[in-house]
């Protein structure tokens, strides 16, 4: 099939026509679902804010169901599809494999997402994202998810096929670039995730239309979490790939050790999905051996991998900055970083928040004994907003600011507002997650419409601090939603009203990477290690480890007080 390749004059990256269109439509669909999910977030936070308590119970559960699915699945996976096509076709400088199949995949994803949303907004599918059986939603709810999953699976195989095309046509030498390897990791986790989703959602759909009488609730929970939690692990692999890409884009940084970084991605491939077991640590049907092996042993290999990435990415930036002469003291390299560039600031706020808030709380939750402190409390959404919103969503936002001129060929509108956006969104989300985790530690329920459970025989008198923290969840949530709205305004506004930029030269064949390539394409598509001369990063890593140990100790101490055994 004949195609054309466009060489971006600003980055040197080469976009194949079909792949570029697929990236554009997936990114636009993603932003539309972010917008819908963001509007729904207003309803969620203003209801969980005890003094406001806005929506009725029925409306709240409907809104929370749609918010969870639109944000955790549709926004993120549409964007990830754009990332997969970028990491394969663009970074490997080749045509996309089977573009018609890729379009079919996109169409199925879109139909599935709309079908699922319609089912939820009809009001009879307020089953939360987890949709535990025997609680039943409309058949269209499950059908929509299944169609979306099939479409995403097709996208994953188009990505893998594109790797084959690039290898066969020898468009790269040696191994694929590290960012592409990270995308391979995300794809592998996605295949496991989608297969697990199919295994459990197809029988549940058949149950909803009356063909099957029963799906065992515990089997459902076990397999559903292989889908539900692993879908968030796709995000982790994807946003860490983006961190590496942004370090290369903003600083020309090479990883401290490419071998170590690839090894860390391998640990993700082998062990990251097993962390799904922490959702079942309070389930009586699972054996202790299963719980211990999946969480307390294998999960730690994935935690090790995250800590490696958390060290090597800022370390790579530090080495690159020191080479430019920012060598004074431990932190001149960080002070002189481009904090006014939203591509960098968004990525760095994401990295720090993901590590300190999402990472530490995730390991705490994955420890069986400590999990009993916070199981099914609002601590859990506090944790996953730190990983998925601060980690993934903010990384995607940061990457978007790079893509507006490079992929969308538009000048970004209102750059002053764009400078502020990562700070407003990221820092308000930090606070949001912290107070949510604080309220969860005091026992506030994860999902209940009324935290006081008023009128119920199980009503519980929470301390005033719990109400205060839930009020702060509301305030911080509104600030974060405002930050998200600014992102959508800048993104959509740039597409609609931004000045058109030079698209660059088009050719009918891919042009090999020039011997003196432009910095962006050279560093993302190249190989090599930068070394470990990064004392500032090692100092930051020690701060992280001390925080980790202290938080762990505090929770064990807290547990000992909850269970007065002495």
């Amino acid at each position: 099939m004949s195609t054309t390749y466009r060489t971006c004059p600003r980055s040197g990256l080469q976009f194949e026509a079909q792949a570029e269109r697929l990236m554009l439509v997936n990114a636009v669909a993603a932003v539309v679902f972010l917008l819908v999910g963001g509007i729904l977030a207003v309803g969620v936070v203003l209801t969980r804010w005890p003094a406001v308590h806005w929506l009725s119970a029925d409306a709240f559960y409907m809104v929370l169901t749609a918010h969870g699915i639109d944000m955790l699945i549709f926004w993120i996976i549409f964007f990830e599809m754009a990332v997969l096509y970028f990491c394969s076709s663009t970074l490997l400088r080749c045509r996309i494999a089977t573009p018609r199949m890729a379009w079919l995949g996109f169409a199925l994803m879109l139909i599935g997402a709309v079908t699922n949303n319609v089912a939820v907004f009809r009001g009879s599918s307020s089953v939360m994202m987890t949709s535990y059986v025997p609680m039943m939603a409309e058949p269209a709810f499950y059908l929509g998810l299944i169609l979306f999953a099939v479409g995403a699976l097709i996208g994953c195989f188009v990505f893998l096929g594109t790797l084959v095309v690039a290898k066969r046509e020898k468009t790269y030498q040696g191994s694929v670039p590290l960012v592409t390897f990270g995308a391979i990791t995300a794809t592998i986790i996605a295949v496991f995730t989608i297969v697990s989703g199919a295994i459990i959602l197809i029988p549940t759909f058949l149950m909803s239309v009356g063909i099957i009488k029963e799906v065992d609730p515990l089997v459902y929970r076990t397999i559903w979490w292989a889908f539900g939690h692993s879908s968030q692990q796709i995000n982790v692999a994807a946003h860490i790939s983006i961190w590496y890409a942004i370090a290369a884009i903003c600083f020309g940084a090479k990883p401290m050790s490419e071998r170590v970084s690839r090894g860390a991605f391998l640990l993700y491939i082998l062990f990251l999905q097993l962390a799904s077991a922490h959702h079942l640590l309070a389930d009586p049907g699972m054996s202790t051996e299963w719980k211990v092996v999946n969480t307390s042993y294998f999960m730690y290999f994935a935690v090790l991998a995250s800590m490696i990435h958390g060290l090597t990415i800022p370390g790579a930036i530090e080495v690159a900055q020191r080479e430019k002469g920012y060598t004074k003291g431990l932190f001149e390299w960080l002070r002189k970083a481009p904090w006014g560039n939203p591509v960098f600031s968004g990525m760095f706020i994401s990295l720090i928040g993901f590590g300190f808030l999402g990472g530490i709380s995730g390991v705490m939750m994955g420890t069986e004994q400590l999990n009993m402190l916070i199981h099914n409390t609002i601590y859990v959404p506090g944790h996953f907003h730190a990983t998925v919103v601060v980690g993934t969503t903010l990384s995607f936002m940061a990457l978007t600011y790079f893509l507006i001129p490079v992929l969308f060929k538009r000048e970004m509108i209102n750059p002053g507002l764009a400078k502020l956006q990562p700070y407003l969104f990221g820092l308000s989300m930090y606070f949001f997650c912290l107070v949510m985790m604080g309220a969860g530690t005091l026992g506030v329920s994860r999902r209940h419409w009324d935290m006081a459970m008023g009128g119920s025989p199980l009503a519980y008198e929470f301390p005033g601090a719990a109400y205060l923290m839930m009020g702060l969840v509301g305030i911080a949530g509104i600030a974060a939603i405002l930050g998200g709205a600014i992102y959508i305004y800048i993104t959509v506004g740039s597409l609609l009203w931004g000045k058109k930029l030079d698209a660059g030269v088009e050719s009918s064949a891919t042009i090999p990477l020039p011997k003196t390539p432009m910095p962006v394409s050279a560093t993302i598509q190249g190989h090599g290690s930068a070394g470990f001369a990064a004392p500032g990063t090692f100092a930051l890593a020690l701060v992280f480890l001390v925080s980790f140990v202290l938080y762990y100790f505090i929770n064990w101490k807290y547990l000992s007080q909850v269970w007065g055994l002495s």
Binding site: L163, L280, W290
Partner: protein
């Protein structure tokens, strides 16, 4: 021929690099390991819960 020279195209490819350069082998491992350790083992645990008498 020097195995440690990254510019030597004739040097044998180390085992780990062969593994990391094979996305389909990684796909097999990345799907099979959690399928067995998490999903299959978990379902076997549930199905072998003794029935109450």
């Amino acid at each position: 021929m020097n195995q440690n020279d990254p510019n030597d195209l004739n040097a044998p490819v180390p085992f780990m690099q062969e593994l990391l350069d094979n996305p389909f082998l990684l796909l097999f491992l990345g799907v099979m390991i959690p399928m067995v350790v998490y999903s299959l083992w978990g379902v076997i645990d549930i199905l072998t819960i003794p029935v109450a008498k």
